[in-house]
């Protein structure tokens, strides 16, 4: 079916090319051909929800990063296969023991205010942000003992213990480099430049009209000569999903990342000749949907019950019905998009209702007179209907094996308090971005030290396994890549055996964009990176 869609899309594209050539012949106008980028044009993009801040200092929310990726360049960016490629760092070396990392910086790069970008900015950002208050990077950079800058374009990190995942988080938004001359000595969290960012990236921040738009303009002094192609980007805040769909349909916006419209609208929109849907560009994130079990629950503390639940859920159907095929059944907490670390040889729980019933009977929870074994609650991530529908799907699936599920609704602050601070829940469904290294986004959900700390998207189940804890801790400071992979593969086996959380789906987020927008996905971290490669093969239909 997807092949068929691709065929039709190709068909439309060809018709458009033919029409374009015909027009060129008839009217004698030059038409841009695919492959030769054409500079110019204003891109209208959707930003949803409105960001809180435009600098990813401690706020790692999606809209903040979508904007910031255009203003800030990182030391590197990530290729489609997630290998780091030179950006502000032209080259880097890691010593064999993993205790020394050297970055050689690009020369002649300027901040948007004209001041030169130097090693001091990197050193300052690492010491004052990445290893101190950065919510995701703190554990990764903590073992950095000292940062030396022998000259203006060399940064040398000396580590007390190896920390290889560092190389997976040093793009523009993963480890934002702030201009030292604007931040030094200020209150980092309340610095006014957080909302009017000054970076080194391809686009310069112009204006943020709250509730309306964020305006970026081309950086004329950008180090990557010839780029960006676009003159301006207007990120428009459109809070209503139907209005977003209408804006795309009409062509008022030409780029909309991160599932801008409900799944039911995607099919309709992509059938329009002027729109395309794109699921690439999210590889750096690798989101995984999973269900936590509260291990303090009298039923769920029995591993047979958890395994029975795993057998009772048809993941393929969940992917197809609730996620409209924009997902794959997950096998392990580490998504298969991280091929180095992904372990396919873990215990699997095939969809098998009989086995599920047998396991529940064996656990001693027989069906009552009304066919119900027991009742549990389910809290879904309040990020939209997809998670609610996932909860409803799970409810129906579990009802079939005699488990009654009550779904509860709350907003995100209440959800986080209930699940991660109070552990006052039975089951939930939520997602985590794995990132290129499981150390960053996966193991946090299983390390026992995080339980009941109130820290969102960490250990919610109350799982405490000495072997898992030591595997996680030792892998974090392991300098040998092979050893790390072996450790993490073993970790996956234990998790699937004990099942404190059930991996549900590998989510495929999607971007909708205009068909005349070219080179929309070039990088593996594209959605969180800059749109400097984008160009219009013909002028956008601005009505």
């Amino acid at each position: 079916m997807s092949d068929k869609k691709a065929f039709f899309r190709l068909g439309f594209k060809q018709i458009r090319v033919f029409a374009g050539v015909a027009a060129a012949v008839i009217f004698g106008v030059g038409t841009a051909f695919a492959g030769t980028p054409r500079p110019g044009g204003t891109l209208s993009a959707i930003l949803n929800p409105e960001p809180v801040t435009l600098t990813p200092v401690v706020n790692m929310a999606q809209p903040t990063q979508v904007v910031a990726g255009n203003v800030f360049d990182g030391l590197v960016y990530y290729d489609r296969d997630l290998t780091p490629k030179p950006a502000l760092a032209e080259s880097w070396e890691v010593s064999p023991d993993g205790l020394r990392i050297v970055f050689r910086l690009r020369k002649g790069v300027k901040w948007h205010d004209g001041k030169p970008f130097t090693a001091a900015d990197v050193k300052w950002s690492l010491e004052n942000l990445w290893k101190t208050i950065h919510p995701r990077n703190k554990p990764l950079f903590e073992s950095v003992e000292s940062v030396e800058t022998p000259d203006e374009h060399t940064v040398i990190l000396s580590l007390s213990k190896p920390s290889l995942p560092i190389l997976s988080v040093i793009n523009g938004v993963g480890s934002v480099i702030l201009p030292k001359h604007l931040y030094d000595g200020t209150d980092l969290l309340n610095n006014p430049y957080n909302n009017q960012p000054v970076g080194t990236g391809p686009f310069v921040f112009k204006e943020w009209k709250r509730g309306e738009y964020v305006l970026l303009e081309k950086n004329p002094d950008y180090w990557d000569k010839g780029k960006p192609y676009l003159d301006r980007i207007v990120f428009r805040v459109i809070p209503d999903a139907s209005a977003r769909a209408a804006a795309l349909e009409k062509g008022e916006v030409q780029y909309a990342p991160y599932n801008p419209v409900p799944f039911r609208d995607v099919d309709r929109l992509t059938r329009l000749p002027h729109l395309k849907v794109e699921t690439r560009g999210y590889e750096w994130l690798s989101p995984l949907l999973y269900m936590d079990f509260n291990l303090a629950n009298p039923y769920l503390k029995d591993v047979r019950v958890r395994r029975a639940i795993a057998h009772a859920v048809d993941l393929a159907a969940l992917a197809k019905i609730v996620w409209f095929g924009y997902a794959l059944p997950a096998i392990s907490p580490v998504p298969s998009t991280l091929p180095t670390f992904f372990n396919p040889d873990v215990p699997r729980y095939a969809y098998d209702l009989k086995k599920a019933e047998a396991l529940l009977d064996e656990a001693g929870f027989k069906r009552g007179a009304d066919g119900t074994r027991f009742t549990i609650t389910h809290d879904f991530l309040p990020y939209g209907d997809d998670y609610l529908h996932t909860g409803e799907f799970l409810k129906q699936a579990l009802k079939r094996v005699g488990i009654e599920v009550t779904i509860r609704t709350q907003d995100s602050a209440a959800f986080i308090k209930r699940v991660y601070a109070d552990a006052d829940f039975d089951t939930n469904n939520t997602y985590n971005n794995a990132f290129p290294d499981p150390q960053i986004g996966v193991v946090r959900a299983y390390w026992s030290g995080w339980f009941k700390t109130g820290t969102a998207w960490t250990n919610a189940s109350g799982y405490k396994n000495a072997e898992v804890d030591s595997l996680i801790e030792s892998t974090g400071v392991e300098g040998n890549p092979e050893k790390r992979i072996a450790n993490l593969k073993r970790f996956q086996e234990i998790i699937l055996r004990d099942l404190p959380s059930l991996p549900l789906l590998e989510l495929h987020f999607f971007t909708i964009h205009s068909a005349n927008l070219q080179d929309v996905v070039v990088q593996g971290d594209q959605v969180y990176s800059s749109l400097k490669h984008l160009w219009f093969s013909e002028d956008p239909a601005q009505k």
């Binding site: 790692m60 995100s412 602050a413």
Partner: protein, 322 residues
């Protein structure tokens, strides 16, 4: 007159105090606090960071201490700081207020003007087919939810007919200035104002019509008719003017709900007003901002009700402040 205004001012002070008190404690009942909401957005946070954040936001102090600190600041008209936006609350409200007033004002003007007009004509043709059509029409509008109307208007007028923009307040991409800018804002204003005003339009139509019909049997109308005043003049000066009184009353009462309805309309049309900001500040547990918005909204409602009272006196010379 002055005594009336004085009393009104006292009322405002009393209402403001009550609203602050109720809102402050009501909002603390919601589970989760600002630090958790922020952590939720970050996708990750360390406990040390959360503690630092709570200290910074003053959330680590006892509730009554927090309230007195807030009230103390409020007395100097300092609405505090919104952690969510990283800006002073007063500045944020000031940024959004014009858009809200523009939308509310246009919606009310539309609803009042067309509602009274249609009601007037419906009353004149009462019992005839035109009146029945009007009644069915207004009943239909009365029963349709605003967000659905909004979506349909977008689909018809923006997507299909391509006459009006889908949402927002200006076309940023075009860099407009001067008259073109005003025209652009007006084009953006049409659909949200109509959507927001439609329900009230239906209410005023029905109200005006019913009131006019009720008044047309009263003694002063009979007297006027006996005096030989022309039918049009009776309808316009004698009946319509009196029929406006309950309309104005209803308007005063409904102002609060128009402000509430603006949340939906602002969301559907991406209108940068205060309603949307109130909604997001609630989800973010941004109590300072939400308190500020509620405080200003309540002041606005009280203030407009005073204006309504003044209009009342103008419309009906019998009403005088004692």
């Amino acid at each position: 007159m002055w005594r009336f205004l004085w009393r009104s001012c006292a009322q405002i002070a009393f209402v403001a105090l009550g609203i602050t008190l109720i809102n402050f404690f009501l909002l603390r009942l919601a589970p989760g606090d600002a630090a958790q909401a922020l952590a939720g957005q970050s996708g990750a946070a360390t406990p040390e960071y959360m503690a630092a954040l709570r200290r910074q936001l003053g959330l680590d102090q006892a509730l009554y201490v927090q309230f007195f600190l807030y009230a103390k600041k409020l007395l100097t008209f300092d609405l505090g700081f919104s952690f969510h936006f990283g800006l002073p609350v007063a500045e944020l409200i000031w940024q959004r207020l014009p858009a809200t007033l523009l939308l509310m004002g246009s919606a009310i003007a539309f609803a009042l003007f067309l509602g009274c007009l249609l009601g007037f004509f419906a009353a004149l043709c009462s019992g005839k087919i035109v009146d029945v059509l009007f009644s069915v029409f207004t009943l239909l509008i009365y029963a349709t939810p605003a967000f659905w109307v909004g979506m349909m208007l977008i689909l018809v007028f923006s997507v299909r007919l391509d006459l009006l923009p889908i949402g927002g307040m200006i076309t940023v991409e075009k860099n407009l200035i001067g008259f073109a800018y005003i025209k652009d804002v007006l084009a953006h204003l049409v659909l949200p104002a109509v959507t927001l005003g439609l329900y009230y339009f239906a209410v005023y139509t029905r109200l005006t019509r019913a009131e006019m019909l009720a008044l047309s049997g009263r003694e002063f109308v009979r007297t006027a008719r006996a005096k030989g005043v022309r039918a049009w003049r009776i309808a316009w000066r004698h009946i319509f003017r009196n029929a406006l009184l309950p309309v104005v009353t209803t308007l005063g009462v409904q102002l609060g709900s128009i402000l509430g309805g603006a949340v939906l309309v602002e969301t559907v049309f991406s209108w940068p007003g205060m309603g949307r900001m109130a909604m997001s500040s609630l989800l973010q547990r941004d109590t300072n901002l939400l308190l500020g918005i509620l405080f200003c909204s309540s002041l606005m409602v009280v203030f407009i009700n005073i204006v309504v009272d003044l209009v009342y006196m103008r419309l009906d010379p019998r009403i005088r402040p004692e």
